[in-house]
């Protein structure tokens, strides 16, 4: 027999006696790990699938040539094909087209069509070749055929031989579904056509999206890349596979990491629960541990024992959490898409695979969280002096030691400093650290705050006549606030995080609503299904619309995608009429702006989104150079505007400037302001009657606002779920902590019953203690949550998504959460108390500890 047997006996004995608390702690850890692991599995699966699908489009190409604009002239292709070192050059035209009957303003509802040269593609990306019917091999080269992936066929409800109608600018194109593809990934909606037929059919003559290159064997990639980059000049980007992966990763990185962080919040709340459960358990067993020390258990042995107890809980909870997380991930993908409601992974249908490395990682995270939660109580158990600890009632001295304000103050100061530091790898790592420190510091200050508040209250009330129950309640909260504050740790963490998230999400929503009002001032917006980089509405169609009856004002917009950095997603160039005298009337500008009268002469002004400042270092007043049309031009940054639609950057300029620089008179969007009294339905009907009316996407601004907010709510749906989970864990914590506390106070209740207090009075006392403490916790949690929301709004969001927002406090929502918390916590305290003062309590006075 060894001390290991003793540890086993003690642990099993403790768990057997307090299985409810052990169960609740296990559940809390399991839920935290499950949420974090499932989010990770879903995000990783979606990202990997999306990345693999993107890579599959390039096949075995070594490099890709792209233009800074989305499309470039095909004259580059014959030049490239002749260069030494290149084995195969494969020209590709890629378009996202609208399908008749599937028209939508959402990009993920468009069909991606690749135009390829079958003979070249066979050498680089054979998977993309079409599979025509037997004996119809020439369908691959036909001008009216299209080959669809199985997912695209399923989505469009077509099969081999059916007709498919797609929009090509203002016209409709009829294509015959000639078959499937050699291979496509599950869920990948993809179509392939002959490149010549595609250029012709979609009016993209002479244009390419990219040229894929397969190098000859033995060619040094690095030196070849250097040489070709110089030859191509600044208009083109030469990228390798790794660059493309980085570009895909950059698209969703901030979203994925923020979601993971949010999932970890649930686990973090669990850490407070572990701390409070372990701390109260150590306080309750203080005499037992002292006895073990007297009998010859060393400090190290006791420390090891208490930590092992916590680690066993952590290990069990983590294993449960991993299994639960896997199940949640599988089920979530049945119900939601891979983007969990966001639009980062359109059309992707990933499969969840058990990832042992991630499982080990999250198991470790669960274990660490438990260890962090259990280390302070374990240290207390090991370093308590046995002789005083053997005496009953010494538990409070434990908590007094923990209530030193200095660690908390240091945490708060460090949190403040971290909010001032820049992002790391473009991620708000220090912002999250600041939030964690703020929470730890705030919660650590809770005992002092509680004692101070109730001491003040008792001082004020000491002349008033108070009954026994009120006297006992106030005395305990004033003189022994520490244990109670520990009980509140979990709920304080989850409540303050819920407040913070509610303020942040509502601030974001209100800001977006306000922003939509600014960016969608017109009554109607008319778009043509975009095909490539072309405007869609030529001068003729613009004239027809402008001369239609019923409009006060008609504005034309031209949008284009530009690549300023090959490793980042494209930015958007928006050319539109902007008020010359006061650009603020047109654009949602921040305060960082040059007044029109102070703009330098002879240089074109542009207004950039906040993301351009963060990602490309565009500063107000600076001159910048980038390509518009076929050449590079110099612009001055005249102001910064908020853009919640494009987190990778956007630039706005006057439409007249754009047309002067490019000669391109086409536009993509028309904004229409209706005459007073003009019926919206009549106007829409009139537009539909135009010769190109059927190809138009007509949207009411009110519908667009509603749709945008709906998308916003859907994107944040998963965050609401995670918030709720954090609160449930917090409430579980209150239940476990209160019941642990009432158990530890069994002797006190027994004595009170002996001196004549009724059960009802004790219950009232417990409910009042719980209610008062929770009310104070709610006030404190609100202040803490508000502070965290400031970090989320002014540090995390700008650093992650490159946008700022105005602060908005959703009072009614916050009051509802507070009330719900107050009622739940008081009821939980009451239930825990009811259990504690059952028949055993009278005996507790006589029993030893």
């Amino acid at each position: 027999m060894t001390t290991a047997s003793l540890s086993r006996w003690l642990m099993l004995g403790e768990w057997r006696s307090h299985y409810t608390q052990v169960g609740v702690t296990l559940i809390a850890i399991a839920i935290g790990v499950a949420m974090a692991y499932s989010i990770h599995l879903i995000n990783t699966a979606a990202f990997n699938e999306f990345s693999a699908a993107s890579k599959s489009l390039s096949g075995q190409a070594d490099m890709q040539v792209r233009s800074r604009k989305s499309y470039f002239d095909e004259s580059l292709y014959p030049w490239l094909a002749k260069q030494k070192g290149i084995a195969v050059a494969n020209p590709v035209l890629e378009l996202d087209v609208a399908v008749v009957g599937q028209q939508s303003t959402r990009n993920d509802q468009k069909l991606k069509i690749l135009g390829i040269d079958m003979f070249r593609a066979a050498q680089i990306s054979p998977d993309l070749l079409g599979l025509p019917e037997q004996g119809k091999i020439l369908d691959r080269l036909a001008s009216d055929t299209i080959f669809l992936s199985p997912a695209a066929m399923e989505w469009l409800q077509v099969k081999q031989g059916d007709d498919l109608h797609v929009y090509a600018g203002l016209h409709t194109l009829r294509l015959r579904v000639a078959g499937g593809l050699v291979r496509a990934r599950a869920g990948q909606r993809l179509a392939v056509m002959d490149i010549g037929a595609m250029q012709w059919g979609f009016d993209q003559l002479g244009l390419l999206s990219r040229i894929e290159l397969k190098l000859q064997p033995g060619v040094n990639h690095a030196s070849f890349k250097t040489w070709l980059t110089e030859e191509l000049g600044a208009t083109y980007w030469l990228t390798e596979v790794a660059d493309q992966e980085l570009r895909v990763a950059n698209m969703s990185r901030a979203y994925r990491i923020n979601l993971n962080m949010l999932a970890l919040v649930a686990l973090f709340t669990g850490a407070f629960l572990v701390f409070s459960t372990q701390a109260l358990s150590v306080i309750r067993r203080r005499q037992q541990f002292a006895l073990l020390r007297v009998l010859g258990v060393t400090r190290a042995q006791l420390l090891r024992y208490v930590l092992t107890e916590g680690l066993f809980l952590g290990a069990l909870g983590s294993v449960l959490g991993l299994s639960l997380g896997y199940l949640i991930a599988v089920m979530a993908l049945q119900l939601l898409d891979g983007g969990l409601g966001s639009s980062f992974f359109p059309g992707v249908k990933p499969n969840i695979f058990f990832d042992p490395a991630a499982a080990v990682l999250f198991f470790g995270v669960g274990l660490c969280i438990t260890l962090i939660g259990g280390i302070v109580p374990a240290m207390e158990a090991a370093y308590a002096r046995p002789a005083p600890a053997l005496r009953a009632g010494s538990g409070q001295t434990v908590v007094e030691k923990w209530s030193s304000p200095w660690p908390a103050v240091i945490c708060l100061i460090a949190a403040l400093l971290f909010t001032q530091l820049p992002p790391i790898f473009e991620l708000p790592v220090l912002g999250y650290v600041a939030i964690a420190l703020l929470l730890i510091g705030g919660i650590a200050l809770m005992p002092r705050f509680t004692a101070g508040f109730f001491s003040l209250l008792t001082g004020r009330l000491h002349r008033c006549e108070m009954g026994a129950v009120s006297t006992l309640v106030l005395a305990r909260l004033t003189n022994a606030p520490g244990q109670a504050a520990i009980a509140l740790g979990g709920i304080l963490a989850s409540f303050s995080l819920m407040v913070a998230m509610a303020i942040m999400v509502m601030s974001f929503r209100v800001s977006i609503d306000h922003w939509l009002g600014q960016v969608l001032p017109a009554d109607l917006y008319v778009r043509v299904a975009t095909t490539g980089d072309q405007g869609g509405f030529q001068l003729k169609e613009q004239k027809v619309i402008a001369e239609s009856i019923g409009f006060d004002r008609v504005d034309f917009f031209r949008t284009q995608q530009l690549t300023l950095d090959a490793s980042r997603p494209d930015i958007t160039l928006l050319a539109r009429p902007i008020d010359h005298d006061d650009p603020r009337k047109t654009l949602p500008l921040t305060d960082d702006v040059i007044p029109p009268e102070s703009l330098p002469e002879g240089i074109i002004p542009i207004w950039v989104s906040e993301a351009m400042v963060d990602l490309y270092k565009f500063r107000v007043g600076e001159k910048v150079v980038f390509p518009v049309g076929t050449a590079f031009h110099e612009f001055v940054v005249a102001g910064i505007w908020r853009d919640y639609g494009r987190q990778f950057g956007a630039v706005q300029m006057q439409l007249t400037d754009y047309q002067r620089l490019t000669g391109d008179m086409s536009v993509n969007t028309v904004a229409l302001w209706l005459h007073d009294g003009m019926a919206m339905d009549t106007v829409i009907e009139n537009l539909r009657q135009l010769s190109f009316g059927s190809a138009l996407e007509i949207s009411r601004s009110s519908d667009m606002r509603a749709l945008s907010l709906k998308i916003f709510d859907r994107s944040f749906a998963v965050t609401y779920v995670l918030e709720t989970v954090a609160v449930i864990i917090g409430l579980l914590g209150v239940g476990a902590s209160f019941s642990a506390q009432t158990l530890a106070r069994a002797k006190e209740f027994g004595m009170l019953r002996h001196v004549g207090m009724t059960r009802k009075q004790i219950l009232i006392m417990l409910a009042a203690e719980g209610g008062l403490l929770t009310a104070l916790g709610i006030v404190f949690g609100f202040v803490l949550g508000w502070s965290i929301s400031l970090i989320l709004i002014f540090v995390v969001n700008p650093q992650s998504f490159h946008w700022t927002m105005q602060l908005y406090l959703p009072w009614s929502w916050l009051m509802s959460i507070a009330l719900m918390m107050l009622v739940s916590a008081s009821l939980t305290a009451l239930m825990a108390g009811r259990q504690a003062i059952s028949g055993q309590v009278m005996r507790a006075v006589k029993e030893d500890g």
């Binding site: 027999m1 060894t2 001390t3 047997s5 003793l6 006996w9 003690l10 004995g13 403790e14 057997r16 006696s17 005499q287 037992q288 006895l291 073990l292 020390r293 007297v294 009998l295 010859g296 258990v297 060393t298 400090r299 190290a300 002096r385 046995p386 002789a387 053997l390 009953a392 005996r843 006589k846 029993e847 030893d848 500890g849």
Partner: protein
């Protein structure tokens, strides 16, 4: 066996408990220490057990200066050489009687075979699988005595072992304690207010603020 050499202990300048205390106790003795409340009886036991340190002076147990040992060494010494009986029993509620008694053996990596015999010795035959809430006060103290003696310690310290028991049970427990301590060849020190308890000892010492004095012999019952 036990040497107290000029032991001083004060909790504050105004509250000196032990002043220049000197005494030597022979091996195998069974002594009772009496005295007024607050005179330092329990403090003396804590100092002897190495649970507290004197402000000055030295305490030797079998030649080892326990007050000079660090915490781990003092713990090891306590584990092997000491047995304890408390007024409040301190029986771990989540362990069975058998497990409670076996604790010192486990800590010393010893076999637990003799636990059943010890339970029989203290009158707890067949109660090994019971928990503390299933026992009376006298039975709980029997468990504590069994636990104090199971690993054959050299010194057994008892602090008011019958303070929570009725006179008849107390009598039984005191007899049992004496018998078992003697049977084990251990030295026993019992701190008590009870003359009946003190009467079971070979020697009765009176602790005052001036020192530890042999009082008039008590008749063993």
């Amino acid at each position: 066996m036990l040497e107290l050499m000029n032991v001083n202990k004060a909790y504050a300048e105004s509250r000196k408990v032990l002043t220049n205390l000197c005494y030597t106790l022979e091996s195998g003795a069974y002594v009772a220490i009496m005295g007024e409340s607050g005179v330092g009886k329990s403090t003396l036991l804590n100092l002897i057990a190495g649970l507290d340190n004197p402000d000055s002076g030295e305490i030797r147990v079998n030649g080892v200066a326990i007050s000079q040992l660090d915490d781990d060494a003092a713990t090891q010494l306590r584990r092997k050489q000491f047995g304890f009986v408390f007024q409040a029993f301190h029986v771990l509620p989540h362990l069975t009687v058998h497990q409670n008694v076996a604790l010192p053996l486990l800590l010393n990596n010893g076999s637990t075979d003799q636990v059943e015999q010890m339970l029989i010795n203290v009158g707890l035959r067949g109660r090994g699988q019971h928990f503390s809430h299933q026992l009376s006060g006298g039975e709980l103290q029997r468990v504590a005595i069994a636990r104090a003696l199971i690993h054959r310690p050299a010194l057994v310290l008892a602090d008011e072992p019958t303070g929570n028991l009725d006179p008849d049970t107390a009598h039984d427990i005191l007899q049992l304690m004496r018998t078992e301590i003697k049977a084990n060849g251990a030295t026993g020190i019992i701190v008590t207010h009870s003359h009946a308890a003190a009467a079971t000892a070979d020697l009765v010492l009176n602790l005052t603020k001036d020192g530890l004095f042999l009082t008039q012999s008590e008749h063993r019952q």
